[in-house]
């Protein structure tokens, strides 16, 4: 390698894709854990306590949730910083882009613009959600979460977050496959079709799963509103 060569454009491109992929894996895992409420109060309680380290450390340590939240927030900050390079920056660039997208009526070009828009909203929505989690990590549980979502009106944050994050994640996975996928010229079309199918299926699945669990939390929160603040006691600790 020559000393004069600037390796940063390559590193930055790889880092943007890699941080995006990690964030997608995180959010898809997150959906399965939060939707444990669909299996009942005890299941969600166990998942929450597991993330507070109770099975390993015998005592719950909510600060572990804060640390995880901080890590994800830093990953988002990195991903956002790198992705900002690609955003249109000037009025002229926006005008060119809007004219181009309008004329072309081209699916993949438009999908990228959806990424720009959802990415922009995620700066705020994801940061708000993660700050709350980092500052009040102990408030995760069947009753605590339901109270936050219904009585504290957090569903107003979670509903748009659910839609934007899953659009961004599913489209991102498809675009990653097309960007780096080691497909030969002859098989690119086939793999593109498969990646599109994955994108649409993942989007539909996680939106359904997320909506089902959000509605469940809202229903539980509405029922539990008179007892707001009370924490859940798992069935095996009750008399």
């Amino acid at each position: 390698m020559r000393p004069s060569v600037n390796r940063w454009p390559a590193r930055v491109d790889v880092l943007q894709s890699a941080s995006g992929l990690l964030l997608v894996l995180f959010i898809w895992g997150h959906m399965f854990f939060e939707s444990s409420i669909l299996l009942g109060h005890d299941a969600m309680y166990l998942v929450a306590k597991a993330f507070e380290g109770q099975p390993l450390l015998s005592e719950p340590h909510p600060e572990l949730v804060s640390i995880a939240g901080g890590t994800v927030l830093m990953l988002i900050a990195l991903h956002a910083l790198l992705a900002l390079r690609k955003f249109p920056a000037t009025w002229r660039q926006y005008r060119e882009l809007h004219g181009h997208l309008g004329r072309m009526r081209h699916w993949d070009s438009t999908l990228w613009y959806v990424q720009v828009i959802t990415g922009f909203f995620l700066f705020f929505l994801a940061a708000a959600h993660l700050s709350q989690m980092m500052l009040q990590p102990e408030d995760i549980g069947p009753y605590a979460s339901a109270d936050r979502i219904w009585s504290d009106h957090y569903w107003l944050l979670y509903a748009p977050l659910l839609l934007t994050v899953h659009l961004h994640a599913a489209i991102g996975v498809y675009r990653l496959a097309m960007k780096w996928g080691p497909f030969s010229a002859a098989t690119t079309d086939r793999w593109r079709g498969r990646a599109r199918l994955l994108m649409v299926s993942a989007l539909a699945f996680f939106l359904c799963l997320g909506t089902a669990s959000l509605v469940t939390y809202m229903r539980l929160g509405a029922e539990h509103a008179p007892y707001k603040g009370e924490r859940y006691t798992p069935s095996w600790e009750r008399e």
Binding site: R2, H100, M104, H106, W112
Partner: protein, 246 residues
């Protein structure tokens, strides 16, 4: 006796964006031409008829009429394509034609793709590099090339530099220094060529930045609208992986 219905001949409206930079006092405007559609009519035939019968000042480029020279690229109902390879029967009654964006306008539908392509070619040095080339004996028989490799190179060499991939690329429209699919395809082509002694580190210096392969945002307009169906998405992904490691 009922007669067998014959298909009515369509009257096409061809709406052309007229603009001649040589006459600055004239403002750019849309002009509608009406024309009877003929069997197997291409846009090239339609435009030639318009120039012959209706308006001799209408400017557009063509040379080969067979999709080989790459001169007649234009925006057809908003999307780039070759006029000579586009049949009017595949289009609606009203056809909108505009010059390819991203290139210097000569007049009406005629743009200077050659100037852009030359700039790209000089910047990416799209010719065989070999230190011993000056001493090369031209009378000598060339070393044979593996037929499979020759076919692979030929596949990329089919590019006619029509400029459709640049007009179809959102990145190129926003950032005028971006080399586009045509440039990246050229680099992929010379990278394959065993006569070219350049290594990946050399190519990295040419396209390893935001104006090159790392500027591509994978909008895939090039892949979907290339009139020659070149495997551009696969080539750019391949080059991106190689350059990330170069």
């Amino acid at each position: 006796m009922s007669e067998i219905p014959t298909r009515a001949v369509r009257e096409l409206t061809i709406r052309v964006l007229r603009c001649n930079p040589a006459e600055p006092e004239q403002t750019p405007e849309w002009q509608d031409f009406r024309l009877e559609e003929a069997e197997a009519m291409t846009l090239f035939v339609a435009l030639s008829l318009l120039r012959e019968e209706q308006d001799a000042s209408l400017s557009f480029d063509f040379v080969c009429r067979a999709g080989i020279c790459g001169s007649c690229g234009m925006l057809i109902n908003g999307r780039p394509g070759l006029a000579c390879r586009t049949l009017t029967r595949d289009l609606p009654d009203t056809i909108t034609l505009a010059p390819l964006p991203g290139f210097e306008l000569i007049a009406d539908l005629s743009v200077n793709t050659g100037k852009w392509m030359r700039g790209m070619s000089e910047r990416l040095e799209t010719w065989v590099h070999d230190a011993g080339l000056a001493d090369h004996n031209l009378a000598q028989v060339e070393a044979p090339m593996d037929p499979a490799l020759a076919r692979e190179i030929y596949e990329l060499e089919r590019c006619i530099e029509c400029g459709c991939c640049i007009a179809a690329c959102g990145t190129a429209q926003m950032r005028e220094n971006f080399v586009g699919a045509v440039g990246l395809n050229q680099v992929a082509r010379f990278r394959l060529d065993p006569r070219d002694t350049r290594e990946d580190a050399d190519y990295y210096e040419l396209v390893g930045d935001e104006d090159g392969v790392f500027g591509c945002m994978t909008l895939l307009g090039c892949e979907d609208l290339c009139p020659k169906d070149l495997p551009l998405a696969a080539q750019i992904a391949f080059l991106r992986r190689k350059m990330a490691r170069a």
